[in-house]
Symmetry: D2
């Protein structure tokens, strides 16, 4: 069976997903919709797809699945529409910045028994997957302490920051999901977060933070540290380390060029990837491939809408912790 896709939103990340669909022998990009018809037209031409409206896609018999890459504030509505229309749905994170809206949306997904995957692409990074596999294989024993380091090469534009929901909902949310993934779903008991404006005062003026540290503690006392900064001069710093009773597993940083030059000044290797799209190029491809495979096999979809909701709850708790100076108890 070929899974026929419609792409909603013909922007930067839409291009990544369109390519993943286009190169998958089990899938076909049939339709593209965008508020800017020219953008949609460009994609459609490249992949032999049609430009259609969202209404047309909703009503189409020849479309099995949609990929939602539209602005965040449209996600929840679109998920609900396409859940009711019986389409499988891949939606970029977040479902919504408001937890109540997310819950309502997830309820619709459950009622309609819709297939929904939320775009936590890092679960599909081959290196992070290998860390998870090392855990699952028992190589490091029982997981006890996790350290997740996630630093951007530089801050996003200020206008993005102001509508991002803040660093915890925009950036740390990936790490919250990663923590949950690595902990195999064990409940988080408390969230303790520290945040500061160390990179750019304008970020503070916009009501956000740029440097945060979060500790999650599970109900059995396992500890997760997340360290985020909006600036890392040396590139896109993305590391995971899991310490267990029998050992430790870690995913190292990735660089596009791995040479080493030795001189009297020392040994130098080039900086890391400087952009999340090149760093996670394999993750994005694996993600859509996983979505297609799950549609075909009928397997449970992961990360699910509920995973999206639970990560957002942690983000909200972290923000509350910073604002109140208190540890937030969740369970």
């Amino acid at each position: 069976m070929t899974v026929n896709f419609a792409l909603l939103g013909a922007g930067r990340i839409g291009r990544v997903h369109a390519k993943a669909v286009g190169s998958n022998p089990d899938a076909k990009l049939v339709a593209v919709a965008d508020a800017f018809p020219a953008a949609a037209q460009s994609f459609a031409a490249q992949y032999g797809a049609e430009v259609r409206t969202i209404d047309e896609i909703e009503a189409a018999r020849d479309i099995h699945a949609v990929i939602i890459c539209t602005p965040t504030d449209t996600h929840a509505d679109l998920i609900e529409r396409f859940a009711r229309a019986g389409k499988a749905i891949f939606c970029e994170k977040p479902v919504d910045l408001d937890i109540a809206r997310v819950k309502a949306c997830i309820d619709v997904v459950k009622e309609t028994d819709a297939k929904l995957m939320v775009g936590f692409n890092r679960r599909f990074d081959p290196h992070f997957m290998a860390v998870k596999q090392a855990i699952d294989d028992g190589r490091i024993g029982k997981v006890e302490m996790i350290t997740i380091t996630s630093r951007d090469p530089g801050p996003p534009p200020l206008d993005y920051i102001s509508r991002s929901g803040g660093i915890f909902r925009d950036m740390t949310i990936h790490d919250f999901d990663m923590a949950r993934f690595l902990l195999d779903g064990e409940a988080i008991a408390s969230v303790s977060a520290h945040a500061a404006v160390l990179v750019d005062p304008a970020i503070g003026a916009a009501g956000d933070y740029d440097s945060v540290t979060v500790i999650l503690e599970t109900v059995t006392g396992r500890q997760v540290v997340i360290s985020n900064s909006r600036r890392a001069t040396y590139g896109y710093d993305q590391r995971i380390e899991v310490h267990g009773s029998l050992g430790s597993a870690s995913a190292e940083n990735q660089r596009p060029i791995s040479i080493e030059v030795a001189t009297a000044e020392g040994y130098t290797r080039p900086p890391l990837h400087d952009f999340f799209m090149t760093r996670y190029i394999e993750a994005y491809a694996n993600e859509i491939a996983g979505f297609i495979a799950a549609i075909e096999s009928g397997a449970l979809i992961s990360p699910s809408g509920e995973d999206g909701m639970l990560a957002l709850q942690l983000a909200d708790a972290a923000l509350e912790s910073v604002r109140t100076g208190r540890r937030i108890i969740l369970a």
Copy 2:
């Protein structure tokens, strides 16, 4: 301008090049030829190309360039035909296993002023390119000593070995070209080679070697060591180290998964790539992109047919060195 391509030979490496052409916005795959029509048909369908005969491609007005991925013994004839037909030509290495045949072919290329690129893909590997760039940037001063390590995960099938021309012409030839690339064309003065059968006696029975060490010395006394083995249990071992007057530049091995697991037994990282096609996936894409760019810009093509010939001369000299137990003087 769009460069229209015909692919000759719809096998494994043909698929790699077809993909590179297909995903290049400046190029289009127009025709595919193969002795097995079904193979050609499969490629043609995927890329919206037509199945044509070689005669048709030779005569076609809508085709600017050909990619030759047919068996080795057809390369030289095809290069000559398409040189005379005025097509730009990309040909997988080697041009031929016989140096006289190669020279005759290169003569035709010169007479017809044809554009010919020979598929020494490693020149396009981003890591090796970065080593070359470090040299060109003067970071390590004057190049003095080069070490090239190249080991396959395991030997090829015996029937391949018997028609490969032997390890020097089949495997080491890449390293000879790499040496020439890194030396910026300085003439090789002598070749001294040692060869043994250490991996599999059947390789020796087939008249070939599986473990070789070669020293090239340039006219100014610079030294290159090439170390080859047909077996490396830990994966596809491909390293370059260049030692110069101001320092050293090296390209490290590549692995698909870069995690590290620490236990009481130590720190373990996964093996390297186990296949040249995954190891050099970027090199293959860069190679065809470079070919297309050179066609469009009219730039000199590199590696050229002459590069192919000179590498083969080194391979022949290495074999003669092993057979005679003598250093072969070239310049």
Copy 3:
């Protein structure tokens, strides 16, 4: 001038310091005292020193400095005695487990204008010193976030745990001092600690924890994460990473043997040092050398008694944070 030393306490760590004194051309070990005369005698013989009582050492005219390696509960008393006797004092950490006792002791040191160095040996580790130097040289800009990982190969004997003052005062205290060292003394505003018993329930039964995470926040919002475990199967895990506005500096783990073995299973390096005395062998030597140099030059001694007190305050705050579930505000 030669600095004449007396060693108080001829145990394991005393041996390390005696050797440092013995091999320093500016110092001489003159006397050794121990509750067990045989132990003192063995040291004395090896270094050409005399066995003396503490009273004799206190009264001796030929002794300029003492090294206190006796049990923790004798430290404060001995510091006070030798401060009053006008000797320079090196004392193993901690000064005392009780902060009030430490303060009283430090007061005596101040009154008597005594020279006191507290044995935070890690400040003298060449790798950690190089990280500090990179900061001081401005290579990474303004320090923003620090991550200190410190894990023991295995827990100490249970009877040691019961008199250790608990993990924060015994183990984390080194990391508190390291944080202060790397922050160049900027005041800590808050301490937030999480602790669990994940390694051995017997440690919990003894009233202690074995796995802790601490966040320190400075008055300007800089963040320090300390991660401790009493068990690391792969060796003595001691890492520091400092993230700044211009880059990052990190000290890697040390292993006694640095080979790599590559097989079909992957690339394996041996485990880390399995004992703090081999891991920090250079730090111990540098520490005593620094003490001798400071005595000779009259320079300020660092780490000082006050450094010892401030690290203990952080340990006490961490323990209070765990017990109350609250962030402890210090400034």
Copy 4:
């Protein structure tokens, strides 16, 4: 039993060995001899030894072993004298620069049944020992190809070069011995060497080379590559890699400080050790400890005088290979 030592030659390397003897509980430095009495006196004072003449040492009943660190041209004579005097002998390499003289000396050692260790200190480097152990443990299967890289930070003084016997007898000789050590004594069938003056023309004017590559081939076809340069701006470059049927074992370079600083320019680690005495500090200590242990246990001493002779034969063959442009057949 305590082994009583006399040290002949109170220079730089003598100091290293005196320290090794002095800190070994099973050994005692009893006498020191040197052409410059002041030098001998300084050592004697430090270790509680006496200054004696060589004649006195030869006749002494209280001396069991001598360490010969005098100039090279005295080695063979001293070995013979002390062999006849019944002392165990540790002699710095080389026994002599002339192979006939070495053979004669070794004959005397055999006749007198003397214990003689030749100072190939690298056999005692813990990292190289671990590579050997990995081989002996069967972890990499049958050894097939060995690569030894050995580069000095900079050339020695010209007057040293002129009396060194040349780079093969002075520098490469360590690598010849290492090759023999790793090959477990398998006979070398041929030596093929290339040499050039790339670092400093004055070295060439002195009749020597500064950049050499040597291939050794064993009687079963195993291949060893040795790469030497008299200059490596990045430090003392000392690496070994052994490729076998089941995998590969390699010893990495050593650096005194192992931090990494990441900035926009990349990731930089400090240079390597810049001096052989710090790089091989553990090897020198292990070497003397091994000598003492062999004396006490009566075990066979390794590396023996014959090892010294065989390494020199390889050096002579390499030089002949360079001079004749031919491969030198040894077996």
